[in-house]
């Protein structure tokens, strides 16, 4: 039999060589088919890609376009994009447009940090913002401080408020400041004194548990037990059975993904009639659409939310009503749907950046100087009214003083109904 040397000194019969070549050709054809399929799918997305021009304020926006937190990231991206378009349509800032460059964190802390680094090194952005889940956004703090670039993080936990460093800012809400609202509701409106925490295993959940343990007692609520669930959990009945067997008079579901919404459904299907309060994610429209009838079962779910989604039910003299109405209607005109809390968060990140750029008028000829100018401007943000709060920052406090605008809502006849505001 004819033997030939091939590759790394292997001896193969000529028939085997033909077989191997045939295999390689087949493999190439398989890969070609796969690449063709992916290109066809990606083509519409590529059409949305931002073009780069040197005369714009380039901002990197990192969010979950895929992965377990995409129900938060994608709406936030839409909200931010709308505000940027509005600013640009009105002539931009100092004659320049804001250019948002979007990156997908894929629900991973590593991907978030890598995306931030790519925005800084490759796309040379002026600032970077992370509109993703709390735990993911924390991975960006070190990146922006190491690279000396202003960075906004969407962290829902107060555990990092004093760890933001010189370059990271947090123009959003910490749970330590809005937890009192649902606790006051349980104590004052329902006359309850005990509660069980059902906590997501995540950075957001960790902060929630920490501050519930710290603060609940001050507001007359005894947290009698904590149970935990994975963000991707599909069955929470064991944890709910534990809560049902405890002395808890109410349940506080703390989560940012679909499992928290499933917990509401499963608790009602189990016949648990304890009042449930939840963090904002459970009020996401897709969950309300899926589980609305469970949300409305008595006692109906009470959920933290923003003034934006409830603007029609705010008193006519509420100072935020007009701002919320305008954004609500613009968003509907642009996307054909109404905005929710995550759209508001994305929008307010861009508003915060725009305010900083307006005051800093950064010198784009020198990126290092421009980034420093913008950082300094962020530190002097004063009484900036955004959708989730009115923010004032100082050089020593990059979370700052926040006048909160969270509200509590419940669900009736397929709609959200305002229950309580921070002012009540």
């Amino acid at each position: 039999m004819l033997l030939l040397f091939v590759g790394e000194g292997r001896l193969l019969p000529s028939g085997a060589i033909r077989e191997e070549r045939r295999g390689m050709r087949g493999l190439v054809r398989g890969i070609q088919a796969l690449v063709l399929m992916m290109v066809l799918i990606a083509t519409p997305l590529l059409g949305c890609a931002q073009s780069s021009t040197p005369d714009t304020y380039r901002i990197g926006v990192i969010g979950s376009q895929t992965g377990p937190y995409s129900a938060l990231g994608l709406p936030a991206i839409d909200g931010g994009r709308l505000v940027a378009e509005q600013i640009n349509d009105a002539g931009g800032i100092h004659g320049r447009e804001i250019e948002l460059i979007f990156y997908d964190d894929k629900g991973s802390s590593t991907e978030t940090a890598l995306a931030a680094q790519r925005a800084i090194d490759v796309d040379k952005v002026l600032a970077v913002a992370c509109v993703s889940a709390t735990g993911l956004s924390h991975s960006m703090i070190a990146v922006v401080n190491d690279n000396e670039i202003p960075g906004l993080i969407m962290s829902g936990t107060g555990l990092v408020d004093d760890k933001l460093g010189h370059w990271a800012f947090k123009p959003t809400s910490s749970e330590k400041d809005y937890i009192p609202l649902p606790l006051r509701y349980l104590r004052d409106d329902l006359s309850l004194s005990t509660c069980a925490g059902l906590i997501e295993n995540s950075g957001y959940g960790e902060g929630g548990e920490y501050f519930l343990r710290q603060i609940a007692g001050d507001h007359g609520i005894d947290m009698v037990m904590f149970q935990y669930f994975d963000p991707g959990a599909t069955d929470l009945t064991p944890q709910l059975a534990n809560i049902n067997a405890s002395d808890a008079e109410s349940i506080f579901i703390w989560g940012s993904g679909p499992a928290g919404a499933l917990a509401v459904k499963q608790s009602r299907e189990m016949g648990i009639t304890l009042p449930i309060v939840t963090t904002p994610a459970q009020g996401s429209p897709s969950y309300v659409q899926s589980f609305g009838r469970y949300y409305e079962m008595e006692p109906s779910l009470v959920c933290l939310d923003s003034k934006l989604t409830m603007w029609e039910q705010l008193p006519s003299d509420d100072p935020d009503r007009e701002m919320c109405r305008e954004f609500h209607q613009s968003f509907k005109a642009r996307y054909g749907r109404f905005p929710d809390m995550w759209e508001a968060i994305g929008a307010q990140f861009v508003m915060f950046i725009a305010d900083g750029i307006e005051r800093a008028d950064p010198d784009l000829a020198d990126a290092i100087v421009a980034r420093g100018q913008l950082r300094d401007a962020f530190e002097t943000t004063t009484d900036l009214s955004l959708f989730m709060g009115t923010h004032t920052m100082t050089p020593d406090d990059h979370y700052g003083r926040v006048v909160h605008k969270e509200v509590l809502v419940t669900f009736k006849d397929g709609k959200k109904v305002l229950v309580k505001t921070m002012e009540d």
């Binding site: 799918i41 295993n201 064991p238 499933l262 899926s290």
Partner: protein, 292 residues
């Protein structure tokens, strides 16, 4: 520890176990016939759920909607085999597995474009109510999930053991060259295996959606659970996959109910890791044939 909590954990584990077993069975069929680890199996499950939800929303009655979903997803399975796996059939097993990962990402991207990112669900089949038993609850959909898994296993045993087509598939799995000699086309049998796996995935997707919800991004986590079930139980035998699925589900549910800490998933996976290290070929290692 309350009795009701233990019972609830056991019921939850049984239901989860059946879900994982159903996921693993799709992997088992493809692997058994073609020796390809199809890492796109979870996408078949996701597509089955999404299509059924959408058709139901358009007013198609539930069971016709499931049948249509099965047909569409089976076609997707055929496309995966004919245009991606078959041309590369002489490549190594790991290369073929990577190709299925690529296909999974393509399906996921396409689903995002078509359906968006929202989570979707279905009501329990035929409005089945929850059953309350000694302080625990059996969700209305849970018996459907258990029944689906039993039917899948029974159907596979009948198909591979009693039908000519099933025997031809087994012949291809056992002795491809010999099967070819007597006129059985390995290419057609490979195609059939992928179509069967896709159909099983679609049925599983439609059946579990009322319990778990579905969205464009649930496929890969589902594949991982199915793989765990198959690896722990033994990839070469259907009963191994069932055993692995039940073990995985029960471990998860019992650790969540009886060990209330933030580490219950880590505890569950550690237990499975120990099992896997002790029996690296699975709890039930291979016999000669797919149906043994």
């Amino acid at each position: 520890m309350e009795f009701s909590t233990v019972l609830q954990s056991l019921l939850s584990g049984l239901t989860l176990g059946c879900i994982y077993a159903a996921l693993g069975l799709g992997l088992y069929v493809v692997y058994g016939v073609t020796r390809v680890l199809n890492l796109a199996q979870g996408e078949f499950v996701m597509l089955g759920g999404m299509i059924t939800v959408s058709l139901s929303a358009f007013g198609v009655p539930l069971f016709p909607a499931i049948l249509l979903a099965v047909a569409i997803v089976s076609l997707t399975g055929a496309i995966l085999y004919r245009f991606i796996i078959f041309p590369a059939r002489h490549a190594s097993g790991s290369t073929l597995a990577f190709l299925t990962v690529g296909f999974a990402f393509a399906v996921k991207g396409l689903t995002l474009l078509v359906w968006g990112w929202e989570y979707r669900t279905l009501t329990s089949f035929l409005g089945s109510p929850s059953i309350h038993l000694w302080g625990a609850t059996i969700f209305g959909q849970a018996p459907w999930v258990v029944g689906m898994t039993i039917l899948m296993v029974a159907g596979l045993y009948y198909f591979f053991g009693r039908t000519m087509l099933g025997r031809a598939l087994r012949a291809c799995a056992d002795e491809p060259l010999g099967a070819k000699t007597i006129g059985i086309s390995p290419a057609r049998m490979g195609l059939l295996a992928f179509v069967i796996a896709a159909a099983l995935g679609a049925v599983a997707g439609a059946t579990i959606t009322p319990l778990t919800m579905t969205a464009y991004n649930v496929g890969i986590p589902l594949t991982i659970k199915g793989l765990l079930a198959a690896f722990v139980g033994g990839m070469h035998r259907a009963e191994g996959v069932i055993l692995g699925g039940l073990l995985l589900g029960l471990t998860e549910a019992l650790s969540a109910g009886l060990m209330p800490s933030g580490y219950h998933d880590a505890i569950a996976l550690s237990i499975l890791l120990v099992v896997f290290l002790a029996r690296p070929r699975g709890l039930l290692p291979a016999h000669a044939n797919i149906e043994d």
